[in-house]
């Protein structure tokens, strides 16, 4: 009983923090699912903006029921996400990343200038609060379950193959384009969910909300947490929401400490912080596996075979 009471009081004291974390978790999932499938897309942030406007305006201006508005926002973004993935089908790696960053920022510019719809620089304010923490929590659980399914079995292996070696994947019957499109669409939908919930919980949307800072934050969450698994994205969302809040207590240099932490993790823990958890888990079960921290051995490296086509 004591524990239940203390958990509930802890929850009551930290509800906003939890809400933030849950919403960022959805955004981080959005980036993670793309990265894990070899798609360096940051378009989730753009869909965060579109999703927040769509859901917020439908609820506020059209008085749609919340559930319907959220679904409509997510479907809209799924469609747009698919269209974007078709447009950007030729791009890979940093080029894709920059194209999607440009898309995100373009969404912001459009939102700022389409005043009749979005309120422009004044933003959209006074959206009725129409979701509960529980709804978002269940959504995050559901999303996590879907992502967990996506990481295992046939589709899990297939997406790894698509990420690591597209040509090989094709030679094994994988329709690479379809799988990439799926990942892109899922990413868009998760971004839209995060945005929609943010709008419906925090009641206001500013055109600058989904700017470069949010892109950087989402990417950082996923890389620091570890993009190999949804658990990494969740860990990143928890830590990067929570750490800045705690760090403010150390005064004006907190940002520098935060930056230093990012450098250290990015440089020395390639699998993200979640890999430490995984390694610790393995060690505790006594199963010696090659450490993720170790550089892969070159045993299977091809010899300098020079025979040509």
């Amino acid at each position: 009983m004591q524990t239940i009471a203390s958990i509930s009081s802890w929850y009551a004291n930290n509800e906003t923090l939890i809400q933030e974390i849950l919403i960022y978790a959805l955004l981080a999932f959005s980036i993670q699912v793309a990265l894990r499938s070899g798609i360096f897309s940051l378009a989730g942030v753009g869909f965060y903006a579109i999703g927040s406007y769509a859901a917020g305006l439908l609820v506020k201006e059209q008085a749609w029921p919340t559930a319907l508005a959220v679904i409509a926002a997510v479907l809209l973004c799924a469609l747009l996400g698919w269209a974007l993935s078709v447009l950007l089908v030729r791009l890979r790696d940093l080029y894709l990343a920059l194209a999607t960053v440009a898309f995100d920022l373009m969404v912001g510019v459009v939102a700022l200038n389409w005043s009749s719809l979005t309120g422009g620089p004044l933003g959209t304010v006074g959206i009725p609060i129409s979701v509960t923490t529980l709804t978002i929590f269940i959504t995050v659980l559901g999303a996590a379950a879907m992502l967990a399914l996506m990481q295992r079995g046939t589709i899990g292996r297939t997406l790894v193959a698509v990420r690591e070696d597209e040509q090989l994947a094709r030679s094994l019957s994988v329709n690479v384009r379809r799988y990439r499109e799926l990942a892109f669409v899922i990413s868009s939908m998760l971004g839209a969910l995060a945005g929609a919930y943010h709008a419906l919980l925090f009641t206001d949307i500013q055109a600058t909300d989904a700017g470069f800072e949010l892109i950087v934050l989402a990417l950082t969450m996923v890389v620091i947490g570890g993009f190999g698994s949804w658990t990494g994205a969740l860990l990143g969302a928890i830590l990067l929401t929570w750490i800045p809040i705690e760090l403010t207590s150390i005064g004006q240099w907190w940002d520098a400490v935060y930056g230093a932490m990012m450098i250290v993790v990015a440089t020395f823990i390639p699998g993200g912080l979640i890999s430490l958890v995984t390694i610790a888990g393995r060690a505790s079960r006594g199963r010696a596996r090659p450490s993720l921290l170790r550089r892969g051995s070159a045993a299977a490296a091809p010899p300098a075979s020079s025979s040509g086509a």
């Binding site: 399914l149 046939t154 297939t158 094994l172 019957s173 379809r178 190999g228 051995s297 025979s307």
Partner: protein, 264 residues
């Protein structure tokens, strides 16, 4: 495959090559570096587009089909370099081949059709294990590719291709870098597969191996077929010897092929 032509920029990589492989036939493909062997395999497996010509598989034209459909038609291949995914175990790598049929259902089915997925997972595991046993690596399933020496890693590649249950297997220098003993094992394996009725195309520099296992050989140079026939005939062919040794052709760089021949 008829009259295939592939051109990269002004360079003709394949120039009017026609090739037919029967069930149970093990076709050896030889030729010096840059003669178009790997290009030919890439063309057959639809990794690259033909600029002209046609590809048929069991009477079906697949010249313009996307790459992943070539595998669906029964064409599996290995690559010149080891291409195992380091984040997966050996068994999982082979399962990539074993699951090919299920993967064709598309991403949504493989993601969300849970009841089928579970059955499929079990079947793929069994098939992958069998494929590993077939190449003689029964116990290596749990290891990771980067822990394997080069020879076994190449065998895993063959197992992965076999797990697709292909009708035509394309092998791009499967024994390069292997020890003599390993090479012989692979040779025996390929002969057995051939006896089981599998059509195979083997790109190989090891002429002794070609002579031992192949029942037909095609020699390529400058993207053209310069000789075709039984292994012994082709090996004796004047043009082939010339191409390899480069005596009368000043434009050829002879040093690399010499080394290859020296392996015999």
């Amino acid at each position: 495959m008829k009259d295939a032509r592939v051109a990269f920029g002004g360079v003709r990589a394949l120039d009017g090559v026609s090739l037919t492989v029967q069930d149970g036939q093990l076709l050896g493909l030889i030729g010096p570096n840059g003669s178009g062997k790997s290009t030919l395999l890439a063309a057959i497996s639809r990794m690259i587009d033909l600029s002209s010509g046609t590809l048929t598989m069991e009477g079906r034209d697949y010249t313009n089909a996307p790459a992943h459909l070539a595998n669906a038609l029964g064409i599996a291949r290995t690559f010149q370099t080891v291409r195992l995914l380091r984040t997966m175990s050996v068994l999982e790598n082979v399962m990539l081949g074993a699951q090919a049929e299920w993967v064709r259902r598309g991403p949504l089915a493989t993601w969300l059709w849970l009841s089928r997925a579970r059955r499929e997972e079990k079947r793929a595991r069994r098939a992958a294990q069998q494929a590993l046993e077939r190449v003689g690596l029964k116990d290596l399933g749990r290891r990771h590719p980067q822990e394997l020496p080069y020879g076994p890693a190449r065998k895993v590649e063959i197992a992965r291709a076999l797990a697709c249950e292909p009708k035509l297997l394309l092998l791009d220098e499967p024994t390069a870098g292997m020890s003599q003993a390993e090479r012989e094992e692979v040779g025996i394996l390929l002969s057995e597969l051939s006896k089981d009725g599998l059509a195979q195309v083997l790109v190989e520099h090891d002429l002794a191996m070609i002579q031992r296992v192949c029942n037909r050989v095609v020699a390529l140079n400058f993207g053209q077929v310069i000789a075709e026939g039984l292994p012994a005939q082709v090996a004796a062919d004047e043009l082939v010897r010339e191409a390899y040794l480069g005596h009368r052709d000043a434009g050829m760089e002879a040093s690399a092929p010499m080394m290859e021949i020296g392996r015999q």
